[in-house]
Symmetry: C2
Subunit: 379 residues, 2 copies
Amino acid sequence: MDPESDGPSAELLSIGSELLAGETIDTNAAFLGSALARLGIPLSGIRTLPDDGAVIASAFAEARGRVALVVATGGLGPTHDDVTREGLSGALGEELVADPALEAPLRERFAALGTMPESNLRQALRVPSAEALANPIGSAPGWWVDRDGSVVVLMPGVPSEMRRMWDEQVVPRLRARFALRPVHARTVKTFGVGESTLAEMVGDLLTAPGAGLEAGIYAHDDGVHLRFWTRGDSSALEAPVARAVARLGDHVYGTDEADLASQALAALGHAGATTVASWEADTRGTLLSILSSAEPAAGAARFIGGALDAGATAIPVADAVIQLSLLATDAHGRSRVRVSVAGAVSLPTVEVRVHGSGVQRARRAAFAALDQVRGAFFA
Amino acid sequence: MDPESDGPSAELLSIGSELLAGETIDTNAAFLGSALARLGIPLSGIRTLPDDGAVIASAFAEARGRVALVVATGGLGPTHDDVTREGLSGALGEELVADPALEAPLRERFAALGTMPESNLRQALRVPSAEALANPIGSAPGWWVDRDGSVVVLMPGVPSEMRRMWDEQVVPRLRARFALRPVHARTVKTFGVGESTLAEMVGDLLTAPGAGLEAGIYAHDDGVHLRFWTRGDSSALEAPVARAVARLGDHVYGTDEADLASQALAALGHAGATTVASWEADTRGTLLSILSSAEPAAGAARFIGGALDAGATAIPVADAVIQLSLLATDAHGRSRVRVSVAGAVSLPTVEVRVHGSGVQRARRAAFAALDQVRGAFFA
């Protein structure tokens, strides 16, 4: 969201040389960016840092001077290159001291797992001004430091540990510490129309969505999303959403949490299918992956599995089988996708065009197929 | 890799408010971090910036003062909030001018697609010192700016467009522009052992891998990876890799590009299976997704599809069916996973424990299952 909005803003430090070397994709940043935006403490910036105590120390010092909240993930492990604790203690000018209250749960945890490597004792260190944040599913405790009018939060880089610590311990403290004006947002999701064409179609809804409202366009593999948000009354979002849906017509496949897989399964359920399977060629299982991650919903058909580049015997028996083949690519990098549905619920073959290459092309082909299925059975 | 190494280093600017709002996961950063590390121009930092011309301008100015290469992705689209061009022109103190040579391909591209929104003409602007980088599969050209001893590269944020522009146009220019000492790296991949335990097992191989060598440990859902790299002779990596493999024994499932899905399919092929299917419960199709993304290999069994939480009729007919069920979670957030293989090639049920929650737990359960299959049939 807009870091210029009134209210506190935050900076994120993603710490770990493996992030800079591309060993790891920083999914924590997107999780925290989204969570902070909803809380009303939008991220104004993210810095990704190497495991270098001096670099980390100056990054903490600079960020504390700019924003009310600095969130850092990573570098809390037991190994010699985990130096986030040292970096922050340097920035704060506080000594690291062993905390017996942190050592106990560490030893208990490892008692259950076997012997504890001595290096893990580094995870029982904290600076005096840090309040420890328990990590019930990992060995690295987090820190909450509220000093000189700014808050610093340290969390482990392991996504599952970070997310649980965030939900259970950080969010409640943030609500208590800051006077938050949460951001309310609505999203209109489209498929089959480009970013700039969509911008022209919605026109003033994007450039002037209304008093106290902001709008943005985001291109994803599952289509272009039009987003409206406000720090005011959420009911103010209804009108622009309704107008956008009206202007964009059939391009719209849903709003907010709606996704193409769930919409396609709902459409097939609406058409009378109880079970759905998939068959795909040259898309490396992306249709399988996307369909299998869809949330089950009342009235929707249930995805039971699928087959890859395989003979008919490999296709699970279902009321409807979504069939997808990726065809050749032209000079502009556009590929054609052949889509049909076979079974008790069926749809004649249609062909659509997709852009991109590699995994992205395969994902877009799968989403294009799901959009065809959705459109055919809701039409 | 180590940004302190001799040779040029780079900074990445990932531009787009959608990244700060968590609308998009920045996969470009990992791709570029890895590619730059291999080229021998390691990333010393990444900054993620909002669509704010002034913020972008100062970030470019600061980065140009620090490193020999600044790479930026995103903000080259046609919409009003795409201001990366304006930001860099501000940092360089150069005017944006329309380039007829850029306008022509834009109009040609849209002639094939329909009418061109006038806003797309912004994509034909450049500063005089910028050399345009053609984008054969998208509307946003990139920029190559070599001025005052530092190079700035602008690329689109769309991953497929960025990757093709990077491979075809940026890498050759980097090789010609910089005297590069590429980094050679080897990775030893393990499963079923924790980061700190593995660090103790390899001991001095991690802390003192040898003259001119560096080492690091990286924890992933598919296990803990031990990485060695050097800017010198790649043959120097053989000895530490061999010693690590010997010390870690059965925990090692492969090196470098080896992945658990391919290893499991190879093991099943070795055991006599030609086709493999999967059946999984409560893992949201992660086993399907991981198996379907495995590269086909000679002698390996071929994954033909799978079923989710479904009856036997939904399971594709195959020589071997990998069966996975995720069991209950304990107080420490550990879950048990039940794994077996049924069919002409079979494996009695075993149970293993996994950590984490949500999608990560499901992924770890799938990798744990594949590691059991690999181990059983190579043993």
